[in-house]
């Protein structure tokens, strides 16, 4: 149940952000920049987004990711830690990520993973449902 007045607003992520249209526009533009970047393949961003959702128990996709190697495996390892154990992300993992994706890719992927986490935290605090943000 949301603490927001549901007689005035649907308690989903998009509608709550719409309470501040300029903020929502900026947020949407920023989030879109990840997918529009050529530094990180879109399927790796999707893996990270799913991994963060799993950590927040909002996904039951449960795909077997054990066979992943290289950039995909590194990205998942980082995305898994960024939600609740960000200090556990090691120098070696970031260095390997830079080797795989370059510094621009590493910056984009780490930022994207952190903000996928932000969306889930906001949804939980607002007690909203639906919406991908």
């Amino acid at each position: 149940m949301s603490w927001l007045d549901t007689s005035l607003i649907n308690p989903d992520f998009e509608d709550v952000l719409t309470l501040r249209p300029e903020l929502k526009a900026g947020f949407d533009s920023f989030m879109a920049s990840f997918a529009q970047s050529s530094d990180v393949p879109s399927h790796i961003l999707a893996l990270c987004r799913e991994q963060v959702a799993i950590k927040h128990s909002e996904s039951i996709a449960g795909e077997d990711t054990g066979a992943l190697v290289g950039a995909e495996a590194l990205a998942l390892a980082v995305a898994e830690k960024i939600s609740y154990d960000h200090h556990a992300i090691s120098d070696e993992e970031v260095s390997a990520l830079v080797d795989e994706l370059g510094e621009g890719g590493a910056v984009t992927l780490l930022t994207a993973s952190a903000f996928y986490d932000v969306i889930h935290r906001l949804k939980q605090v607002w007690a909203t449902r639906e919406g991908e943000g």
Partner: protein
């Protein structure tokens, strides 16, 4: 926690600060600062309260900023 910068500055001969490191993704960080400006300079929440929550958040997450 890392004890050294993990990603270099995108700007030659400059320290690897948040802005200089994220400059490796210039379009992304430009949009971030647009969002951040909107968040910090507008809205009804007093700036002092925003800063207080920022500092609290930084302490909780062991952030040096």
């Amino acid at each position: 926690m890392s004890t050294r910068p993990r990603i270099s500055s995108a700007l030659p001969d400059q320290e690897p600060t948040f802005a200089n490191v994220t400059a490796h993704a210039p379009d992304m960080i430009a949009r971030f600062f647009t969002l951040y400006t909107e968040l910090w300079q507008k809205g009804i929440v007093p700036p002092e309260l925003k800063e207080l929550t920022r500092i609290r958040n930084a302490r909780i997450t062991d952030c040096g900023y």
